[in-house]
Subunit: 341 residues, 2 copies
């Protein structure tokens, strides 16, 4: 299935605003960000590399429009969100030792870990500066302060999630609840913040903002579980991640956590045995896939995606907004539930 | 010479406020911060390890009092500043590969680089949350927003300085101007922000705040150059840094930069030759010290400290405040100019 149409609607506006935001910063430190964002190659020459889906800023702009005000008002917040997301990606790539992202060497792989830390941290500060643009464009002080608070809390939860993710690498007794605590931080917090922020800017109704927050939380969880599914059963050509996937990287994604906690003893033993080894080869990967097939893991985790999507649909139904906005949000939910193999 | 008395005046109040700030955070992620701050050992048991001088928060509180309002008003800002400073220390230790700080293993050495990145980044977010406490305690919205702006800019300049510091590691043609650009970011930006923030809270006079900003800038540069002097000619028992100092770590501190750019050709060649080697031994260190002695480097850099201190004294003289506050600031300047060998 193709990327939902709505994800392209605001794309060039987001890209333009992001480029304007970075424009005044000329130190080579900021070229590391431009490289990461796909605008230049590692030598600084212009490039048009594939960039991200801009899912988070799009959700922010959508929530603003659905709330009743023009999406442009939420652009500074959307830019801030995309910067926070990319701050975390630059650090994550280093923390996970990932050498490629979207078929290009990661920032740390080119400039080294110490400078990748600087590029990521500076990006998080730029997010604050981007958000202050909303205030200059007339956002009332109380709303601005509310946004500051939710952006900081989302970042903190995001870092806590990343902390748990790394901690879980050495744990074999984590269950689905632990996993959910981790992705609520690592993924859902920022997606939820995107939608809440958009709604705060787009409407004065606090209940609507709260519903959008919940919608973002559910969408975020569904999104991460689907990402986990693609990381194991997805095609490396479409995901842009190196072949072999999350099994090779011994990541504790939901399918693995599910098999280790709910699978039959034989399946648990097989997977734990392979994950405790130093390196995971092709045969190991096959063995894990076979063990997961035996335990019916795919159906169970796909069902979890569908549950969170169903909850998302209920929230979309409950939020007061025009029909066309509901349709757009449903497009995104639809995209997440499609079986990927 | 002993640490100036004024640095102890607010110490326990700062420590108490910092502990209260961290108290609600119970995830083990935050224990890495408590460890770094010297409150607990690596197993989580209470400890009373030597902590930092709390120079930056003290300067913030001093500037607030000198401006005319009680120092308590500036405490949220002072806590935020100390958190920003320690965010940068946790990351710097990892970036520089330093295994010890204040005679204890650094955070990354115990929990690994990936988790040290998380602890540092989370600390920077906590700084924002600390600062929002000032707003809750009644700081007007316009002042709060001004503070947010200067804290973000100081952090950005701090990261830019760290970027340059790492970049310079492989450069042998940097001069005193390049060095000053680096420490203006790495050290002076946050010290200057501390004093400006304190003054913004302590007075409504914008000119006073601007003068304090300049004072912080000058003090910050003097402070860093003095630190560089101690890093080469200082005693490892008093600095708390491992023996052999900055020569062994091949850091481009001012004495080295000065010798490489202004020394006689023979001295330049000797130092560059040693710094380009993979490891610097005891004999190399001695040779560098001898070369610097020959070029009279110590006297030159000490003179630079004294120039920035003299400029600081002029600013202290020009700022309208009670005599006792001037005396306190002069105590700090005095401390910085004392010859250390």
């Amino acid at each position: 299935m193709q990327t939902p149409h709505i994800l392209n609607t605001y794309r060039s506006a987001i890209d333009g605003a992001l480029r304007s935001m970075l424009e005044p910063y000329t130190l080579p430190l900021y070229d590391m960000m431009r490289y990461h964002l796909g605008w230049i190659d590692e030598k600084g020459n212009e490039a048009a590399e594939p960039t991200g889906k801009a899912l988070r800023p799009t959700l922010c702009l959508m929530a603003c429009e659905a709330g009743g005000r023009g999406y442009e008002r939420a652009m500074p917040a959307a830019v801030a969100i995309e910067l926070i997301h990319n701050f975390s990606l630059i650090h994550d790539d280093l923390q996970d030792g990932d050498e490629e992202r979207r078929h290009r060497p990661t920032v740390w792989k080119i400039w080294g870990g110490p400078q990748a830390i600087n590029a990521g941290s500076a990006m998080r500060v730029l997010a604050n500066l981007a958000l202050s643009g909303a205030r200059r464009e007339g956002l009332p002080a109380d709303k601005y302060e509310r946004l500051l608070g939710i952006f900081d809390m989302a970042t903190l939860r995001l870092i806590e999630g990343q902390y748990l993710d790394i901690k879980y690498e050495d744990c074999f007794d984590i269950g689905v609840t632990d996993y959910l605590a981790m992705i609520r931080g690592k993924t859902a917090a920022l997606i939820s913040c995107s939608m809440e922020a958009g709604a705060i800017i787009g409407t004065d109704d606090t209940e609507t903002a709260e519903r959008f927050r919940e919608l973002g939380e559910n969408l975020g969880i569904a999104f991460q579980i689907r990402d986990d599914i693609l990381g194991i059963w997805g095609d490396s050509r479409t995901t842009g991640k190196p072949g072999g996937g999350d099994i090779r990287r011994r990541k504790k994604t939901l399918p693995i956590v599910f098999a280790l906690s709910n699978g039959p003893l034989r399946v648990k033993r097989a997977i734990a045995g392979i994950f405790q080894k130093g390196a995971v080869g092709d045969l190991d990967t096959e063995e894990v896939l076979e063990a997961m097939g035996e335990a019916g893991v795919y159906a169970h985790v796909q069902e979890m995606v569908e549950d969170y999507c169903e909850q998302s649909r209920r929230l979309i139904h409950a939020i007061q907004m025009e029909r066309r906005f509901k349709d757009n949000f449903e497009q995104i939910v639809e995209f997440l539930t499609v079986r990927s193999h």
